[in-house]
Symmetry: C2
Subunit: 462 residues, 2 copies
């Protein structure tokens, strides 16, 4: 017997629908039993036929009842009911997140949050995000043509990289592009990586179960000897500013690695030019890709450090051979990057704003780096040596005391300062010469924060 409450806020048809549904689920209305006709039920409840019609339609479309022409409405055979009990929130254990009392975090990623041209970016958004632009359509898989043109021109001007816009693939961060490369490179292609390595890049290949060969670096970067007998390989390198050690690969090693790649059609070089924009003592070192006359270098660039990591826009320049594979495999997909942000960025680059921004940031980071160096040398004088400070957004600090990396980090942490160990970047045991070294990033910190950080480090490490 249906109960209707005409004063309830819930529409009457919903009340009927819910009661019948519940009766069917509980078996009170068994399969194949006949429901009252619409006319009969409407008379019985003193409601309109339309209201009953609405309730029955909903039950039909969900498969609880069916209509037999000229016979009326019947309950469906819906099967075992046990699993239909209303789903309770499944038991779920969140790992308790530690919230360390970090006062100063010398984080390795991030940018200066105050120096960003917010107002200008908002203006570009207003210009781009408009009804007239077809802005709601997705981008083609390889990225917006305007952005690809802007990137192609920009990397030619600033990094000496010659490319056509067709060779450029826009991706949602370097991780996504490396996943894509994993798909494009043949299964038997070994990924060789620098040891120590940028561990987010390694994490991608590890997570994909790709075999990775680690090769130690020396003072010129990755060593070439271990590569010689590998027929099919792609070598992931950071020649402008090795991560994390900060080594710049000199011309000799560059020629060596290009010669190695040229010896087999199955050899590639993956150049991750992640922070090349920031070179402080000299002009930027040209990209390895700029010396690649034969299409052996896959060039990866990103705006995470030069603009901000929140946008997740990276790109790569694919050699013609791989672009052909890519176009064949990826035709059905959409570009994972927001179209709006691609178009804003294209404008930002084309109007020269990006160049201006880079120049500003380079000066800002140079000043920060100088300040941090001074502060550290004042605090620790000859007890420390600083490495890799001529580029990028972090420094490497070596403590000349009988202390472990772990102790350095732990003691700093106890004073509320986060510095970063070097050993997680190594595959296998870290060579002894890298003992007692930690990484300090400075891009997001103000001078005051760095000053405070260093004074806390002095307390921690003395």
């Amino acid at each position: 017997m249906l109960q209707i409450d005409a004063s309830a806020s819930e529409p009457i048809y919903m009340q009927i629908y819910k009661q019948l549904k519940s009766d069917i689920i509980q078996g009170l209305l068994p399969a194949y039993s006949k429901l009252p006709s619409k006319r009969k039920l409407s008379a019985q409840l003193s409601i309109s036929v339309n209201t009953v019609e609405l309730a029955y339609s909903q039950l039909i479309s969900e498969g609880f009842i069916y209509a037999k022409p000229k016979k009326g409405y019947f309950v469906c055979q819906i099967g075992q009911l046990s699993v239909l009990s209303h789903a309770a929130p499944p038991l779920f254990q969140t790992a308790p997140k530690k919230q360390p009392p970090v006062l100063i975090d010398f984080a390795l990623d991030g940018v200066d949050g105050c120096a960003f041209p917010y107002a200008h970016w908002r203006k570009l958004f207003r210009n781009v995000f408009d009804c007239s632009n077809d802005i709601l359509r997705p981008s083609p898989i390889e990225g917006e043509p305007a952005l690809k043109e802007a990137i192609s021109a920009h990397i030619y001007m600033t990094r000496g990289v010659v490319s056509t816009p067709e060779q450029i693939v826009v991706g949602a961060g370097t991780e996504q592009l490396l996943q894509l490369l994993h798909q494009l490179l043949s299964k038997d292609c070994t990924i060789a990586m620098e040891n120590p390595v940028y561990n987010q890049a390694y994490a991608v290949f590890k997570q994909l179960n790709r075999a990775v060969l680690f090769i130690d670096i020396d003072e010129q970067g990755i060593q070439l000897e271990p590569l010689q007998n590998i027929h099919s390989a792609a070598v992931y390198v950071t020649p402008s500013h090795q991560f994390p050690l900060g080594v710049t690969m000199p011309i000799r090693r560059r020629i060596g690695i290009l010669n190695w790649a040229n010896k087999s059609p199955h050899r590639y070089i993956i150049e991750d030019d992640y922070d090349s924009q920031f070179k402080y003592d000299t002009k930027p070192i040209p990209a390895l890709k700029s010396s690649d006359a034969t299409g052996k270098v896959i060039y990866l660039g990103s705006f995470s450090r030069s603009i901000a990591p929140c946008f997740r826009i990276s790109y790569m320049v694919l050699p013609p051979k791989l672009i052909a594979v890519y176009q064949k495999q990826y035709q059905p997909f959409n570009c994972p990057v927001s179209k709006t942000e691609q178009l804003i960025l294209a404008d930002f680059i084309k109007n020269g704003n990006y160049e201006t921004h880079l120049n500003r940031m380079r000066k800002l980071y140079r000043d920060k780096r100088e300040f941090l160096k001074q502060q550290l040398l004042e605090a620790f004088s000859k007890d420390i040596t600083i490495y890799g400070e001529n580029a990028g957004q972090h420094i490497l600090l070596k403590m000349h005391k009988n202390v472990s990396e772990t102790e350095l980090c732990k003691k700093a942490y106890e004073k509320g300062v986060q510095v970063y160990p070097l050993s997680p970047y190594f595959s296998g045991t870290m060579p002894k010469k890298y003992d007692a070294m930690v990484l300090l990033g400075y891009a997001p910190l103000s001078l005051e924060q760095m000053q405070k950080g260093v004074s806390l480090l002095k307390l921690a490490w003395s």
Copy 2:
């Protein structure tokens, strides 16, 4: 002999740097040869020592020369020069893109570009994109907490899906989330898919070389019989509105598939609820996930159809077992979705704007659908039957004439109208009963465009 042009716009140190570099590359300055001292060169060229210093520093940092303390500057051994010739743009063949003269495209994706709340979105952008928000930092890998909360509340209210925000993973489109699922599901887990299937989903698994088992659908959706003996499988289904046929899975089949999944810990259901917001004849059908009491359903949702495909924001609700795998594997990565757009969307949902927008769009698309149906029935009357029109953003048209799907598409195309064949969604041969059927999407088209499209179709198909 160095040539200096003091009147050139290029700084003198760059002129020196370039000439020395070129001489070294060409072998005119052989390895180990000594360069003039800074003092000597500066006197010789009548320039400052600092200028020479700048040029030498750049050459040192690129590895062309080296300094020996108290001995001076020497040319490095840089190796074989052949590959160093300036990289020419590699030969690159773009596939010539056909530009068909399409006047009216009954595209299956896309949204109504005029009904979008542009001004409101711009306002949300202004609010979110601000210095004070830490907006430049990347999002945690699983997405912005504010967005995950908003989604969790929204899918409970509108789809009956019970979840905690921790179970929600935000991704850059359904494709990316399916790639991620491929990683989370064990290697021996078979992916079972509906036949016909949403082919962008299939393309993901195909491209990843995942074994896919196709199972024909009947009038209730995917058939369960072929699944019974598969121990480890994840079944990809679109129960609210099967793509492309438009079938709604009734409660009986839903119970059947849940029971199937409950029989083994290695069985999952992937519910792609891609366009459930748009149901025209009744209230929306609750999600299959809403009946999942045991954590067997992986629920996928997207804003591509309900807001716009340009944003590339999708999400999934992972069962607790998979969330644990996910948290372990993906800790090192960043979320591929723009932080700004995540926060805008979170606001849009929380403020109730999304609900309002959906209601508006539902009405708009209902009107468009009705109009298109009317136009088609007027033009073709009993020659056609229309299917799957009660939901989604496309209809399925069956032509009752002795004509093939290919001919229908080809004839339409010749008149400047794009309609879409059904057969590409099938694995293997399409059953005969689906002959002479085509898909027509209507979301992005205006009434005038649809009218014109149908009149052209009438010319084409008569």
